[in-house]
Symmetry: C2
Subunit: 583 residues, 2 copies
């Protein structure tokens, strides 16, 4: 028996007991003839005392200890003189009567404390040491808790967790697959799933009307910051349901989890169409913890000889409340921001509704105070507010203004980590047009059903067709997305055709699904939560890496284990593969 | 809204209600002016009646229906005249007032009934139809339930489920890895985990002292019947524990699951050393639902001029109670059985303790009735029993006799699917000797700790070293296995050395673990349940395929989706790979 208690549970009630603890040396302090050892495990820290006057040999042996040594200590629980009321064990200490060193430790490359000195690179290389720190450990435990709650809720609602295969079939459509060569079938490959989409639809055809799975998915993308090649989804599907059923079930699931983990009652989630979100926030995943909705000025600003506005498809701005006092320098910084390549605007126009009631702007030459007054009415601005305006092509200027809105909110502290603003975005377009390939792309995926009332437009104006597709947005992040699926084989066939699949391609890639649809597919719909993202936002962070035990870095490498790596020639040979080196 | 109720819940209490059901056409029957439709969903079957006298149009429309059509029906719940008390809904029927065909169906390739006419091949190709059948559907739901219970129990015990990576590093040691080429790092590969072994040990180094994960693992083996290239483990690890702690925690977990799912209290699990299991059952995973323990006869049979026994290293038999009346033909069948190539014995000796008290044998020429009397005493045989005896090299004859024991038990119905006999097998050897490669192999894996009391033997007689390794056996199947781990870097290093790793190889493959051991690794131990096998045995079957939603066939192919398959040249090119075709 290595321990009778953990390092997080002893208190005054245990006074007088002889206990055994095991853990790591957090800290050692000398005070004359006393050595104080802070012993740490997953559950907390307990102070251990070695007293030279009581046990000289033990006291001396304690000098062999160093930080992160693994130690087993036996001793008497005693009330402390100098109590530390910040920790649960702070009223007691252990007077050591025995101890043994279970393992030694080299000096760790960074300190195992909440605010560590280690760089992210260093901490990823020694991830197992980083996990000893409370912040990371607590995040992993939080993730576990959220997963448990999800499973508990869905199971109670009659959902069945079904494991779908990981070794599946590659489909050139969509993002790039990771592939797995088959040794037994030389020259053939499995793919790792980007999602269990087709399998969950087959389960619906199979009559399992409520499915879920918390499941690893894989996407071989060129990495952007905070994207992982392997990620976790809470994947769900239901039969004999409409969009409304899905929204209700998963709104309740989300409310349950937030209530259980954060103690917050989220209330009914607002809903917004895709079109409204794009027009009002320039973004299909608006952060609605704060205002700064878009205000379109086209009808007020045209024809005043200001070429930039006159030539613009869209003139649109946001109002920053109480910011009329911002200095020229402050506004210039935002102008510089919108001109950065990642935002890509050419300039920023401002207008102030000053506290004294006057109105001024960066385009005074073209617009009178009376003009500005009309602007401010459109903005519903009041004295003290600042209006920031961008102009240009609508589909460029909206994301630019969205970026500005988010950056200002971030700066002003309006994106509060402990405030949660969920939102359903609905009525996404079914298709968009990809200039590069000169063909339609499915906005969600090729299995998404058009709205019945828009179905006729598929023939005449496909881009106008809205889908029964929906996203759950939380604090400006898409945390879940889904759709009502096509379950009619003819409509599915038409869809593949519209997306530029030849009959042969559709058959080769999705023949099994089309075939399944011949045998009585029920109406069905589903949703998938991006679990890494969902957990990190609930945890108050937008860095998903912190919520993954062993993440890859931004080059898709695991720098701790040093993977990927080269194979033996023998392994390659067995797989009938040759690496091409002279590309 | 597609339905107000499911097809499994209506009964006399719902009489007079107007309800809407959705489901599949199980069956259609005509009786004069009435059409009876059995409507099926996941929850059951409800009888729907179309009455020509009440609604001629609807009655006629019902003739469009065929088996497996998807239908929505609205109607009144009425008490049935001919009640079917075998099903929960059998006292009522729905008098249809409205219905619509949600989807049609071609005639399915096999009938969707419990005892279907489909071959296994056909049912795997149309797995989504097979899942509509109760036997398969119920097994998937049972699997879900066992997974939920496992998670519930371990979470309550303070275990944290941590997701470890799927894209890891290939290690030539052990079974073959599936590998994943990295596009971003041309010529380099990830491997899919055979188990999260090293990661869970790193989590222990990271201070998370109770870890579990229900996780997919992968092994590129030449398939044997009922092995899957991807399989699921309940993977567990604990810190500051000894073997005894692990056995207790996971015995309780297993008891909990069996109690909750089967209502059976298993009691305390017996324990047996590896040596005892091998000597008594010829097998390290004995089925102890029945007896037929091995009885060694060496000291009784030698020196009687029977060359086969005289030259044998081991003469060993089993007693079949009440089988003395077996005919010559029956015994010959077992002789043929032990001579099959998969068993590989050269012959079978028998001796009967006849009901009249006489003793006879197939070796009467060499052994007198008095000799046979002594045998029967050793066997503790009584009148009416049959003794079956094999002779030869010990390490061959034990598995042969084990096979015979199992086959006879199967034939006699002693392997009862609803009886559960758990058993801990402990004290496995640390190493065995691989003739082919001429070196030691780790019996469990290279991270398993030798028993401290045997550690000195590592230098002098490594094959004598016992490990702190253990298996949980259930009904003759290994359902879980684990060990106490090495946590000392020097011992781990010595172990790699003993297993024939050069320092460089050990460093290249397991450097990250050796490195982690420098920073205060705690004592730790773990276990992993083969979840597919565990669930299938609990479910009363030994066919794991039935408990996997979408299994691969015996050639490691998914014949439903037709995977693996060839890649586009473009995909291969991006991966810097070429398939070698002229091998």
């Amino acid at each position: 028996m290595y321990r009778s208690h953990t390092c997080g549970e002893l208190n005054l009630k245990n006074q007088g007991q002889t206990v055994t603890l095991s853990g790591w040396v957090q800290n050692l302090r000398e005070f004359g003839k006393l050595t104080f050892l802070d012993l740490r495990d997953r559950y907390g820290i307990t102070q251990v005392v070695f007293n030279a006057e009581e046990n000289q040999a033990l006291y001396e042996k304690a000098h062999e200890l160093g930080r992160e040594f693994v130690v087993q200590v036996t001793g008497l629980v005693k009330e402390r003189e100098n109590k530390n009321l910040n920790i649960p064990t702070g009223e007691i200490e252990i007077i050591a009567s025995e101890f043994s060193i279970l393992n030694s430790s080299e000096i760790p490359p960074f300190t195992i404390i909440d605010d560590t000195d280690g760089s992210e690179e260093l901490r990823m290389r020694y991830r197992y040491l980083d996990i000893r720190r409370n912040p990371l450990k607590d995040k992993l435990i939080f993730r576990h808790k959220v997963a448990q709650l999800f499973r508990q809720y869905l199971s109670q609602e009659g959902f069945i967790e079904v494991e779908t295969p990981v070794l599946i079939k590659s489909t050139p459509e969509g993002a790039r697959d990771f592939v797995v060569p088959s040794r037994v079938n030389p020259g053939q490959f499995f793919a790792l799933p980007q999602s269990p989409q087709t399998f969950k639809q087959l389960l619906m055809v199979g009559g399992l009307d409520k499915y879920f799975q918390i499941v690893k998915c894989f996407r071989d993308e060129d990495l952007r910051a905070d994207r992982q090649p392997e990620f976790t989804q809470v994947d769900c599907e239901m039969s004999f349901v409409e969009q409304e059923d899905i929204l209700q079930v998963f709104e309740l699931a989300t409310k349950f989890i937030v209530k259980e983990t954060k103690g917050i009652d989220l209330g009914t989630f607002p809903r917004m169409t895709y079109e409204h979100a794009m027009n009002t926030y320039g973004n299909d995943k608006p952060d609605i913890r704060f205002g700064m909705e878009f205000c379109e000025l086209n009808e007020l600003v045209k024809g005043k000889d200001f070429a930039i506005f006159d030539s613009a498809e869209l003139v649109v701005g946001i109002k920053v409340e109480g910011a009329s006092e911002w200095t020229r320098k402050q506004i210039d910084e935002w102008t510089d921001y919108v001109k950065t390549p990642q935002v890509g605007a050419t300039g920023l126009i401002w207008a102030k509704y000053n506290l004294d009631g006057t109105l001024t702007s960066s385009v005074n030459k073209f617009y009178s105070e009376e003009d500005l007054k009309k602007w401010s009415e459109k903005f519903k601005a009041k004295a003290g507010d600042l209006m920031l305006i961008l102009a240009g092509e609508a589909k460029k200027v909206r994301p630019q203004l969205s970026a500005l809105r988010m950056a200002i909110a971030e700066k002003l502290g309006l994106r509060k980590a402990d405030e949660f603003a969920p939102l359903w975005v609905v009525d996404f377009p079914l298709l968009d047009w990809d200039e590069e390939s000169g063909r339609y792309h499915a906005m969600h995926h090729p299995f998404t059903a058009p709205k019945p009332e828009d179905q006729a437009l598929l023939e005449t104006d496909p881009l106008k067709v809205r889908a029964n597709a929906y996203d759950l947005v939380l604090n400006g992040n898409e945390v879940a997305g889904g759709s009502v699926r096509i379950y009619d084989k003819n409509l599915q066939s038409k869809m593949f055709n519209l997306l530029g699949f030849s009959q042969e391609e559709a058959e080769a890639q999705f023949g099994f699904l089309m075939n399944a649809f011949k045998f009585g597919a029920p109406p069905h719909a589903g949703i998938a939560f991006g679990f890494d993202r969902f957990v990190s936002i609930l945890g108050g962070s937008e860095t998903i890496r912190d919520y993954i035990a062993f993440p890859k870095n931004n080059s898709a490498r695991d720098i701790m284990i040093d993977a990927p790596s080269r194979l033996d020639d023998k392994q390659l040979d067995e797989l009938a593969l040759k690496v091409i080196t002279n590309r």
